[in-house]
Symmetry: C3
Subunit: 132 residues, 3 copies
Protein backbone atom coordinates (compact mmCIF):
# COMPACT_ATOMS: atom_id res chain seq x y z
CA UNK A 1 0.00 0.00 0.00
CA UNK A 2 1.34 3.39 -1.06
CA UNK A 3 -0.10 6.70 0.14
CA UNK A 4 0.94 10.33 -0.49
CA UNK A 5 0.24 12.90 2.21
CA UNK A 6 0.38 16.69 2.02
CA UNK A 7 1.79 18.92 4.75
CA UNK A 8 2.19 22.66 5.28
CA UNK A 9 5.22 23.93 7.16
CA UNK A 10 5.17 27.26 8.98
CA UNK A 11 8.77 28.35 9.36
CA UNK A 12 12.10 28.32 7.52
CA UNK A 13 13.28 25.47 9.76
CA UNK A 14 10.43 23.53 11.29
CA UNK A 15 9.87 20.09 12.87
CA UNK A 16 6.30 18.79 12.38
CA UNK A 17 5.09 15.71 14.29
CA UNK A 18 3.61 13.32 11.70
CA UNK A 19 3.26 10.30 14.03
CA UNK A 20 -0.56 10.43 14.17
CA UNK A 21 -0.88 10.74 10.39
CA UNK A 22 1.24 7.61 9.97
CA UNK A 23 -0.64 5.71 12.67
CA UNK A 24 -3.92 6.53 10.89
CA UNK A 25 -2.66 5.21 7.55
CA UNK A 26 -1.48 2.00 9.25
CA UNK A 27 -4.85 1.62 11.01
CA UNK A 28 -6.77 2.06 7.73
CA UNK A 29 -4.53 -0.51 6.01
CA UNK A 30 -5.58 -3.18 8.55
CA UNK A 31 -2.05 -4.64 8.25
CA UNK A 32 -1.28 -6.52 11.49
CA UNK A 33 2.45 -7.18 11.06
CA UNK A 34 5.06 -5.59 8.85
CA UNK A 35 6.91 -2.31 8.36
CA UNK A 36 6.02 1.18 7.25
CA UNK A 37 8.44 3.28 5.20
CA UNK A 38 8.20 7.08 5.39
CA UNK A 39 9.92 8.65 2.36
CA UNK A 40 10.44 12.39 1.79
CA UNK A 41 10.62 13.24 -1.94
CA UNK A 42 12.33 16.61 -1.34
CA UNK A 43 16.01 17.58 -1.22
CA UNK A 44 15.73 20.31 1.43
CA UNK A 45 13.60 18.37 3.94
CA UNK A 46 14.14 15.21 6.00
CA UNK A 47 12.46 12.87 8.48
CA UNK A 48 13.73 11.93 11.93
CA UNK A 49 12.54 10.13 15.05
CA UNK A 50 13.13 11.93 18.34
CA UNK A 51 11.54 13.00 21.63
CA UNK A 52 7.85 13.89 21.63
CA UNK A 53 7.54 15.08 25.26
CA UNK A 54 9.51 18.30 25.83
CA UNK A 55 9.27 20.67 22.84
CA UNK A 56 12.64 22.13 23.93
CA UNK A 57 14.34 19.03 22.50
CA UNK A 58 13.15 19.89 18.98
CA UNK A 59 14.20 23.51 19.50
CA UNK A 60 17.67 22.41 20.65
CA UNK A 61 18.05 20.07 17.67
CA UNK A 62 17.07 22.86 15.26
CA UNK A 63 19.33 25.43 16.93
CA UNK A 64 22.36 23.11 16.99
CA UNK A 65 21.93 21.85 13.41
CA UNK A 66 21.67 25.48 12.24
CA UNK A 67 24.98 26.05 14.03
CA UNK A 68 26.71 22.93 12.62
CA UNK A 69 25.57 23.85 9.09
CA UNK A 70 25.37 27.67 8.94
CA UNK A 71 22.83 29.32 6.60
CA UNK A 72 25.65 31.29 4.95
CA UNK A 73 29.12 29.84 4.34
CA UNK A 74 30.31 30.93 0.88
CA UNK A 75 28.16 28.28 -0.79
CA UNK A 76 28.20 28.15 -4.60
CA UNK A 77 24.60 27.05 -5.27
CA UNK A 78 22.83 30.16 -6.59
CA UNK A 79 19.43 29.38 -5.02
CA UNK A 80 21.01 30.18 -1.65
CA UNK A 81 19.62 27.12 0.15
CA UNK A 82 22.69 24.87 0.26
CA UNK A 83 22.51 24.67 4.05
CA UNK A 84 19.07 23.06 3.71
CA UNK A 85 20.40 20.47 1.23
CA UNK A 86 23.27 19.57 3.58
CA UNK A 87 20.96 19.23 6.60
CA UNK A 88 18.65 17.00 4.54
CA UNK A 89 21.52 14.59 3.80
CA UNK A 90 22.71 14.60 7.42
CA UNK A 91 19.29 13.71 8.85
CA UNK A 92 18.17 11.53 5.94
CA UNK A 93 14.99 11.39 3.89
CA UNK A 94 13.47 8.14 5.16
CA UNK A 95 12.52 6.15 8.24
CA UNK A 96 11.19 2.63 8.66
CA UNK A 97 9.01 1.69 11.62
CA UNK A 98 7.87 -1.78 12.64
CA UNK A 99 4.12 -2.60 12.64
CA UNK A 100 2.80 -5.05 15.25
CA UNK A 101 -0.90 -5.56 16.13
CA UNK A 102 -1.82 -2.95 13.50
CA UNK A 103 0.13 -0.30 15.45
CA UNK A 104 3.58 1.32 15.30
CA UNK A 105 6.33 -0.15 17.51
CA UNK A 106 7.87 3.06 18.88
CA UNK A 107 9.63 3.82 22.15
CA UNK A 108 7.67 5.67 24.84
CA UNK A 109 9.22 9.04 23.98
CA UNK A 110 9.55 8.60 20.21
CA UNK A 111 7.69 10.75 17.70
CA UNK A 112 8.21 10.88 13.93
CA UNK A 113 9.08 14.36 12.67
CA UNK A 114 8.99 15.90 9.21
CA UNK A 115 12.03 18.22 9.15
CA UNK A 116 11.60 21.37 7.07
CA UNK A 117 14.89 23.08 6.27
CA UNK A 118 13.81 25.55 3.55
CA UNK A 119 10.25 26.59 4.37
CA UNK A 120 7.62 27.64 4.80
CA UNK A 121 6.28 25.47 1.98
CA UNK A 122 3.64 22.94 1.02
CA UNK A 123 5.38 19.56 1.15
CA UNK A 124 4.48 15.94 0.58
CA UNK A 125 5.68 12.60 1.83
CA UNK A 126 5.05 8.95 0.96
CA UNK A 127 3.93 6.16 3.27
CA UNK A 128 4.55 2.63 2.02
CA UNK A 129 3.29 -0.32 4.06
CA UNK A 130 4.98 -3.70 3.66
CA UNK A 131 3.19 -6.72 5.15
CA UNK A 132 5.17 -9.59 6.59
CA UNK B 1 9.68 -12.31 12.95
CA UNK B 2 10.11 -9.66 15.64
CA UNK B 3 12.54 -9.94 18.53
CA UNK B 4 13.44 -7.55 21.36
CA UNK B 5 16.98 -7.68 22.80
CA UNK B 6 18.34 -6.12 25.98
CA UNK B 7 21.75 -4.46 26.24
CA UNK B 8 23.75 -2.79 29.01
CA UNK B 9 26.01 0.12 28.12
CA UNK B 10 29.04 0.99 30.25
CA UNK B 11 29.83 4.63 29.56
CA UNK B 12 28.15 7.96 28.87
CA UNK B 13 29.03 7.64 25.17
CA UNK B 14 29.63 4.03 24.13
CA UNK B 15 29.67 1.99 20.92
CA UNK B 16 28.68 -1.67 21.46
CA UNK B 17 29.17 -4.24 18.67
CA UNK B 18 25.80 -6.04 18.23
CA UNK B 19 26.72 -7.88 15.00
CA UNK B 20 26.89 -11.33 16.61
CA UNK B 21 23.56 -10.88 18.40
CA UNK B 22 21.90 -10.04 15.08
CA UNK B 23 23.60 -12.92 13.25
CA UNK B 24 22.29 -15.29 15.93
CA UNK B 25 18.71 -14.08 15.56
CA UNK B 26 18.96 -14.47 11.77
CA UNK B 27 20.40 -18.00 12.18
CA UNK B 28 17.58 -19.03 14.54
CA UNK B 29 14.97 -17.64 12.13
CA UNK B 30 16.20 -20.00 9.38
CA UNK B 31 15.32 -17.29 6.84
CA UNK B 32 17.52 -17.83 3.75
CA UNK B 33 16.86 -14.60 1.84
CA UNK B 34 15.49 -11.25 2.94
CA UNK B 35 16.40 -8.27 5.08
CA UNK B 36 16.80 -7.59 8.77
CA UNK B 37 15.79 -4.27 10.32
CA UNK B 38 17.52 -3.11 13.51
CA UNK B 39 15.40 -0.46 15.25
CA UNK B 40 16.40 1.52 18.37
CA UNK B 41 13.33 2.61 20.41
CA UNK B 42 15.26 5.33 22.30
CA UNK B 43 15.79 9.03 21.55
CA UNK B 44 19.31 9.33 22.97
CA UNK B 45 20.81 6.26 21.28
CA UNK B 46 21.40 5.23 17.68
CA UNK B 47 22.71 2.42 15.47
CA UNK B 48 25.47 2.66 12.87
CA UNK B 49 27.58 0.37 10.69
CA UNK B 50 31.32 1.04 10.74
CA UNK B 51 34.77 -0.57 11.06
CA UNK B 52 35.12 -3.63 13.32
CA UNK B 53 38.92 -4.08 13.09
CA UNK B 54 40.76 -1.17 14.76
CA UNK B 55 38.99 -0.01 17.94
CA UNK B 56 40.58 3.42 17.39
CA UNK B 57 38.03 4.07 14.64
CA UNK B 58 35.15 3.89 17.16
CA UNK B 59 37.10 6.10 19.55
CA UNK B 60 37.73 8.67 16.80
CA UNK B 61 34.04 8.65 15.80
CA UNK B 62 32.96 9.18 19.41
CA UNK B 63 35.56 11.93 20.02
CA UNK B 64 34.68 13.82 16.84
CA UNK B 65 30.89 13.56 17.28
CA UNK B 66 31.30 14.87 20.84
CA UNK B 67 33.17 17.81 19.30
CA UNK B 68 30.63 18.47 16.53
CA UNK B 69 27.77 18.35 19.07
CA UNK B 70 29.19 19.62 22.40
CA UNK B 71 27.71 18.31 25.68
CA UNK B 72 27.04 21.88 26.78
CA UNK B 73 25.88 24.61 24.39
CA UNK B 74 23.19 26.67 26.11
CA UNK B 75 20.56 24.01 25.39
CA UNK B 76 17.03 24.64 26.71
CA UNK B 77 15.97 21.05 27.49
CA UNK B 78 16.01 20.81 31.29
CA UNK B 79 17.13 17.18 31.43
CA UNK B 80 20.54 18.33 30.20
CA UNK B 81 20.93 15.62 27.55
CA UNK B 82 20.12 17.58 24.38
CA UNK B 83 23.49 16.70 22.87
CA UNK B 84 22.52 13.02 23.06
CA UNK B 85 19.21 13.69 21.27
CA UNK B 86 20.98 15.59 18.49
CA UNK B 87 23.61 12.85 18.01
CA UNK B 88 20.81 10.26 17.85
CA UNK B 89 19.16 12.11 14.96
CA UNK B 90 22.47 12.59 13.14
CA UNK B 91 23.40 8.90 13.25
CA UNK B 92 19.85 7.57 12.97
CA UNK B 93 17.92 4.94 14.90
CA UNK B 94 17.76 2.13 12.33
CA UNK B 95 19.76 0.04 9.91
CA UNK B 96 18.70 -2.56 7.36
CA UNK B 97 21.01 -5.39 6.36
CA UNK B 98 20.52 -7.90 3.55
CA UNK B 99 20.17 -11.62 4.39
CA UNK B 100 21.56 -14.19 1.91
CA UNK B 101 22.14 -17.90 2.67
CA UNK B 102 20.83 -17.34 6.22
CA UNK B 103 23.68 -14.89 6.89
CA UNK B 104 24.22 -11.11 6.90
CA UNK B 105 25.63 -9.51 3.73
CA UNK B 106 28.18 -7.15 5.27
CA UNK B 107 31.49 -5.81 3.98
CA UNK B 108 34.70 -7.37 5.32
CA UNK B 109 35.30 -4.55 7.82
CA UNK B 110 31.67 -3.79 8.72
CA UNK B 111 30.26 -4.27 12.21
CA UNK B 112 26.87 -3.12 13.51
CA UNK B 113 27.14 -0.82 16.53
CA UNK B 114 24.61 0.24 19.14
CA UNK B 115 25.51 3.88 19.85
CA UNK B 116 24.89 5.01 23.43
CA UNK B 117 24.86 8.79 23.82
CA UNK B 118 23.39 9.17 27.33
CA UNK B 119 24.57 6.16 29.34
CA UNK B 120 25.36 4.08 31.12
CA UNK B 121 21.91 2.52 30.91
CA UNK B 122 19.99 -0.66 30.23
CA UNK B 123 18.74 -0.35 26.66
CA UNK B 124 16.74 -2.42 24.21
CA UNK B 125 16.51 -2.78 20.46
CA UNK B 126 14.23 -4.55 18.00
CA UNK B 127 15.20 -6.98 15.26
CA UNK B 128 12.61 -7.53 12.53
CA UNK B 129 13.27 -10.11 9.82
CA UNK B 130 11.54 -9.75 6.47
CA UNK B 131 11.66 -12.74 4.13
CA UNK B 132 11.81 -12.23 0.38
CA UNK C 1 16.49 -10.18 -6.08
CA UNK C 2 20.04 -9.26 -5.06
CA UNK C 3 22.59 -7.62 -7.35
CA UNK C 4 26.14 -6.39 -6.78
CA UNK C 5 27.41 -3.46 -8.84
CA UNK C 6 30.96 -2.17 -9.28
CA UNK C 7 31.88 1.51 -9.37
CA UNK C 8 35.08 3.49 -9.84
CA UNK C 9 35.47 6.78 -8.00
CA UNK C 10 37.78 9.51 -9.29
CA UNK C 11 38.62 11.70 -6.32
CA UNK C 12 39.34 11.52 -2.59
CA UNK C 13 35.85 12.81 -1.86
CA UNK C 14 33.44 12.21 -4.71
CA UNK C 15 29.66 12.03 -5.24
CA UNK C 16 28.65 9.68 -8.10
CA UNK C 17 25.07 9.65 -9.40
CA UNK C 18 23.93 5.98 -9.38
CA UNK C 19 20.22 6.67 -10.07
CA UNK C 20 20.29 5.28 -13.62
CA UNK C 21 22.11 2.11 -12.55
CA UNK C 22 19.41 1.45 -9.95
CA UNK C 23 16.58 2.25 -12.36
CA UNK C 24 18.05 -0.27 -14.82
CA UNK C 25 18.19 -3.04 -12.21
CA UNK C 26 14.57 -2.32 -11.23
CA UNK C 27 13.52 -2.37 -14.89
CA UNK C 28 15.24 -5.73 -15.50
CA UNK C 29 13.60 -7.20 -12.38
CA UNK C 30 10.13 -6.48 -13.84
CA UNK C 31 8.91 -5.85 -10.26
CA UNK C 32 5.90 -3.54 -10.46
CA UNK C 33 5.45 -2.63 -6.77
CA UNK C 34 7.82 -2.83 -3.83
CA UNK C 35 11.00 -1.24 -2.52
CA UNK C 36 14.64 -1.24 -3.49
CA UNK C 37 17.40 -1.19 -0.88
CA UNK C 38 20.79 0.28 -1.80
CA UNK C 39 23.46 -0.96 0.63
CA UNK C 40 27.11 0.15 0.71
CA UNK C 41 29.41 -2.58 2.11
CA UNK C 42 32.24 -0.13 2.90
CA UNK C 43 33.08 1.84 6.05
CA UNK C 44 34.51 4.94 4.34
CA UNK C 45 31.72 5.45 1.80
CA UNK C 46 28.00 6.23 2.04
CA UNK C 47 24.84 6.75 -0.02
CA UNK C 48 22.57 9.79 0.01
CA UNK C 49 19.66 11.24 -1.93
CA UNK C 50 19.97 14.88 -2.92
CA UNK C 51 19.61 17.39 -5.79
CA UNK C 52 20.41 16.21 -9.31
CA UNK C 53 20.05 19.54 -11.14
CA UNK C 54 22.74 22.03 -10.09
CA UNK C 55 26.13 20.31 -9.59
CA UNK C 56 27.03 23.12 -7.17
CA UNK C 57 24.77 21.49 -4.55
CA UNK C 58 26.99 18.38 -4.48
CA UNK C 59 30.09 20.59 -4.33
CA UNK C 60 28.62 22.55 -1.41
CA UNK C 61 27.70 19.34 0.45
CA UNK C 62 31.22 17.96 -0.02
CA UNK C 63 32.89 21.23 1.01
CA UNK C 64 30.77 21.68 4.12
CA UNK C 65 31.07 18.05 5.28
CA UNK C 66 34.85 18.30 4.86
CA UNK C 67 34.65 21.36 7.13
CA UNK C 68 32.38 19.74 9.76
CA UNK C 69 34.65 16.66 9.87
CA UNK C 70 38.20 17.87 9.11
CA UNK C 71 40.67 15.48 7.40
CA UNK C 72 43.14 15.99 10.26
CA UNK C 73 42.05 16.36 13.89
CA UNK C 74 44.45 14.37 16.08
CA UNK C 75 42.72 11.12 15.18
CA UNK C 76 44.15 7.89 16.67
CA UNK C 77 43.40 5.46 13.80
CA UNK C 78 46.78 4.79 12.18
CA UNK C 79 45.43 4.42 8.63
CA UNK C 80 44.79 8.17 8.65
CA UNK C 81 41.26 7.98 7.23
CA UNK C 82 39.16 8.49 10.38
CA UNK C 83 37.44 11.51 8.83
CA UNK C 84 36.11 9.22 6.08
CA UNK C 85 34.74 6.74 8.65
CA UNK C 86 32.98 9.54 10.55
CA UNK C 87 31.42 10.99 7.38
CA UNK C 88 30.22 7.50 6.41
CA UNK C 89 28.33 7.16 9.70
CA UNK C 90 26.87 10.68 9.44
CA UNK C 91 25.47 10.15 5.93
CA UNK C 92 24.65 6.46 6.35
CA UNK C 93 25.35 3.40 4.24
CA UNK C 94 21.87 2.64 2.91
CA UNK C 95 18.79 4.09 1.24
CA UNK C 96 15.40 2.59 0.46
CA UNK C 97 13.34 3.82 -2.46
CA UNK C 98 9.74 2.91 -3.32
CA UNK C 99 9.00 1.07 -6.60
CA UNK C 100 5.69 1.80 -8.37
CA UNK C 101 4.88 0.82 -11.98
CA UNK C 102 8.33 -0.76 -12.30
CA UNK C 103 9.96 2.65 -11.67
CA UNK C 104 11.50 4.54 -8.75
CA UNK C 105 9.26 6.95 -6.81
CA UNK C 106 11.64 9.91 -6.45
CA UNK C 107 11.00 13.64 -6.18
CA UNK C 108 11.61 15.78 -9.29
CA UNK C 109 15.02 16.93 -8.12
CA UNK C 110 16.16 13.76 -6.34
CA UNK C 111 19.14 11.71 -7.46
CA UNK C 112 20.80 8.82 -5.60
CA UNK C 113 24.49 9.42 -4.93
CA UNK C 114 27.31 7.06 -3.98
CA UNK C 115 29.46 9.11 -1.57
CA UNK C 116 33.18 8.36 -1.71
CA UNK C 117 35.08 9.67 1.31
CA UNK C 118 38.43 7.87 0.92
CA UNK C 119 39.05 7.50 -2.80
CA UNK C 120 39.84 7.17 -5.53
CA UNK C 121 38.99 3.45 -5.36
CA UNK C 122 37.06 0.64 -6.98
CA UNK C 123 33.93 0.20 -4.89
CA UNK C 124 30.85 -1.98 -4.88
CA UNK C 125 27.28 -1.67 -3.70
CA UNK C 126 24.30 -4.02 -3.34
CA UNK C 127 20.82 -3.57 -4.74
CA UNK C 128 18.09 -5.67 -3.12
CA UNK C 129 14.56 -5.57 -4.55
CA UNK C 130 11.64 -6.47 -2.29
CA UNK C 131 8.30 -7.08 -3.98
CA UNK C 132 5.08 -6.12 -2.22
Amino acid sequence: MLKKLILKTDRKVDFVDISEKIKNVVRESKVEKGTVLIFIPHTTAAVTINENADIDVQKDIVKEINKIVPFEDNYNHIEGNSAAHIKASLLGNEEIVIIENNNLVLGTWQGIYFCEFDGPRTRKFYIKILEG
